[in-house]
């Protein structure tokens, strides 16, 4: 079946992009994978029948399976939502290729609006050692 080859090409491209470091490339990869998934879903309706499922326009004998179409329509819109969200994540920071990410959870940064980005970008709060915790309890 030709369409399964299309799916194969799209999945290969999507996976290749997903394995790259850049967030934007990963988003592109997800888009390709979504196309592949949509085709896979449409194929489950068996593409031997390809007339539009409009009862006043096509003959019922030739109509394509409408259920996968409804699924795919839903999937496309969700893909858009997810893509936009991931793009919002990609745009945070100077460069989506970077290996570290800024911390979240800040509510205000009135005190520190210095222009240079300090070295602590992407600083991780290491989970505190239980022993360390206890030592603090003793000191208190």
């Amino acid at each position: 079946m030709i369409l399964s080859l299309t799916v194969a090409v799209l999945v290969a491209g999507g996976v290749y992009l997903l394995l790259q470091r850049s967030m934007v490339r990963a988003v592109f990869g997800m888009t390709l994978l979504s196309h592949a998934a949509n085709f896979a879903l449409l194929i489950t309706g068996v593409p031997g029948w390809r007339a539009e499922p409009l009862t006043d326009a096509s003959s019922r004998a030739d109509m394509a399976d409408p259920l996968p179409q409804a699924f795919v329509l839903t999937a496309i819109v969700i893909t858009m939502a997810v893509t936009v969200f991931m793009l919002a994540l990609a745009v945070i920071g100077r460069d989506d290729d970077m290996g570290t990410h800024p911390e979240t959870g800040a509510t205000r940064d009135a005190e520190e609006h210095d222009d240079d980005v300090p070295a602590d970008i992407g600083h991780e709060v290491a989970p505190r050692d239980a022993a360390e915790h206890e030592a603090e309890g003793r000191d208190a």
Binding site: S4, T44, G48, L54, G93
Partner: protein, 1040 residues
Amino acid sequence: MLTVSVLWTLLILLATVAVTPVLDRVLGRSACWILAALYLAAAAALLPATAAVLTGAGDDAVSAFAVPWAPQWGVELAFRADGIGIVFSMIALVIGAVVLAYSTRYLERGRQLSFSLVMALFTLSMVGLVLADDLVVLFICWELTSIASFLLIARSGPAGQAASLRTLLITFLGGLSLLVAVSLMVMRLGTSSLQEVLASEIWSQDPAFTTLVGLLVGIAACTKSAQFPFHVWLPDAMAAATPVSAYLHAAAVVKAGIFLLLRFSPAFHDVLAWNLLLIIAGLITAFVGGALALQQRDLKKLMAYSTVSQLGLIVTLIGVGTEAAILAAVLHTIAHALFKSGLFMMVGVIDHGAHTRELRRMPALLRAMPGAFAVTLLGCMSMAGLPPMLGFVSKESLLTGALDAGGPAWVGWAVALGIAGASVLTFAYCAKIVLGAFVDRRDEEALARVDAADAGADEPIDAGDSHAADADATSGAGASSGPGTDPTGALTRAGDAHPADRVMLWTAALPILAGLPLALVVGVLDTPVSRAMEAALHDGEEHAHLAFWHGLTPELGLTVGVIVLGALIALGRHRLLPALEARPFPCDGARVLSAVDRLAERIAAVLVRPIASDDPMRHLAAILVCFSAVALSSLAVLLGSLEPITEGVNRPIDGVLLVLIAGATLLVCTRLDRLGAAVSLSGVGILATVQILALGAPDVALTQLLVESLTIIVIMLVLQKLPRRFEAPSRPRRAGAVTIAVLAGLAAGAATFLFAGRRDRSEVAEYYIANTEEISGGHNIVNVILVEFRALDTLGELSVLGMAGVAIVAVLSSIRHRYVDPHGRPEPDPPAALREDGTSAHRAITSAWSNAAALQMMVRITAPILALLSAMLFLRGHNAPGGGFIAALVGSAIVALLYLSTSRDRQIGPPRLPVYLIGSGVAVAVAAGILGFVDAGFLAPLHGYLLGAHVSSSMIFDAGVYLAVLGLVMVAVNLLGTSAAVGDPDSEEETRERADETIEGELEGPLETSRGERAPRPRRVGAGTAHLSSGTRPKEVGRR
């Protein structure tokens, strides 16, 4: 059901939990008086059931009730009072009332909600546990007591945290063990009713199963009752406030373990593994606890270890499992609850009076606190098993029970001698309490030496111990001065110790003094103890004859020996004890647990290393390769036995599109300039649209096309802020990625080839095709499916849309401004080959306003057309390609066009509009769903005719879809479009501020000062305003 006294008891306790916050707010620590009264009321409510049980009537109308809880599994919310339940709930309620009365003085003034509420919850779960008549209820109450004790210990400040976590860890281990046991019983016996389970034949028929479940239950009880080696949590838990310790360690948590053992005794009392486990664990615990108690210098820790030791004795007797032994265990449980709760409270009294709990620092308090001395002496006599206290009677019966042990005669004597040996230690540490606190003077010289030594040497275990005890200072007034502090911090003269608070002393004395008359008229306990024993053995014939004096018996001889040996140790205490105290046990439970903790952490660090990276390759490679292996190998296996491919699935156009899509995909993957990659991606999207159209899905194709165009706009908005090119992947990464990608692609293609296109049109397709028009009156089957047949799916989808919009706002408004919009552009614009300055061509490219002129012109014409188109698509959706989604996407295109056509970054619409749109979209869709209840149920469409045209309520639903989609696109355009990061000096707002405004509404002032806060609205001066103190100008009458 209203006559069931058990129900009333539980209801009163439930009400107690409910009113505690209110009482606490109004009365502060005095609320505990009311709680104590409520506990007594609950105990009184239990009296009818008690009477029914004691007379042996077993009247279930009074003492039992059951409500179906999860009927499909036969689980009932069932409670039933029997001998054991009565004894234990009376202990929990009466001792609880006394402890609460004590707390009214012990706690600091003011609100003590974390104490009173958790105590109330604790008592409820404890009483629920002992009265439960269903295994599931029993297990849940068991876990609730674990959680409540954790909370009570954790509330005592920093030192309590580690201790409470250790408690939680150990008691939850036991909880898991109990869970397994309960599941095994329920699965095997097919019922969760406790009565039926215990009466089952299986315990005598299947020894392997019985042993397994018995051991699991035994382990669970051992963790809760602090049996070796799980005893470590109990002394740890001394970090809690004294009333908590008194309740937890005398009446509640530890007694839960004892209760569990007694509850399951009917099934296991003659199982050898059970007997061995409990006798051995019990005796070891009794000795270890006694020895450690003798070593302690802190009174409270001493009490804790003595509790461990006493519990060991009780567990031993339950392990013996004969009638006399169970009788003794029940009696000693009662006696222990009385004297130990009293003694714990006495420690609090001494702590308040002398401001220390450390025996070395304690002056001889005999004169300063004579009342406290008398009470403590009686309590310790009871604990040591001396006449004329209840402890004497119970200790005698312990020995009787031990001698009664089955098997060869030496077993009984061995157990009895073990108990006697532990009792010698008990006597010794009781003497240490009384003499150390009240009689022995401090040796100033020795103390100075010890202080010097403590200050110099590091003694980590000990320091940790006494500081853990110090945590009590947060709730109690007294603070024990630990080693290393200034010696002048401790009391120097006994005269400085002030007499005990009356309420505290009397409430502490109450349970101890109750043991004095009880010992002499111990016969009144005959019936309750016997009933408990019967409940614990199910076949008790013997009726207890408790008495103070049994004549000259072997037990009495053992007791005399215990007293003599104990007295010898007490006399030699000045030489023995310092030697013992100087050599603390080398292996401390806390240390073992933290070592286990560290080990687990180290193992986890090793295990996590392969994936502790943000490189997607490490996370995805293994998964994808495995997926490919499965799919490809199944291709190999199934290839021979496949159905033939359905005719007509391949069309020439598919082949053409395959080639084009492959080319475009290759471009997306290989282009390193972002713009090129984005355009290629869009190309793939357009080709996919054509393919979808070729498959006969016009609605889907329309949606795909519109989504594609909106997505590319958002991508462009984002790309303007990012570098122009992707970093080129390294050669090994490229090679690896290509390999995995090819494998995954082949696998996906193979799976599609294998599993699709090999059958006729599905039944559900036939159904929709045949019936849609008839059912809904619509011609467009896909749209009808979306808004009517499977509207719930669509509702979920539209929630996802809304969620994505809200999530974008949430993420952007939680990240510091400098990360969202870093200043300065990473790369300068490449110079364009332009005509000379001043020409219109130059202007059209370089200045923004002229750049946007063409688009502005276009928007003036296209916007109304698009609006009209959107409305048409919306209305015709039911019958022709269109509908809410497609119409909304067209409508969104207007927003995007408007945004693009302005020369400067501007927000489209009021700041909060997008969020309102999303919210109202979901609300409208849900409302349309609720409208469906008029007919068949949620989301059922209603059909009717309006002005001669067929209308359906699914139209309202579609309107919700429309609003939510529009909201998401507006969020994306407004928040991702800000051009501050591009270095536009004219830009007024930056991303972070705009994200905040999306939630808060328009914010005033410069970014730094107004982050996330509304500008305060000026108010006039009033009675409750604070203009003068806060320094803000009030609003004044008249014009500005």
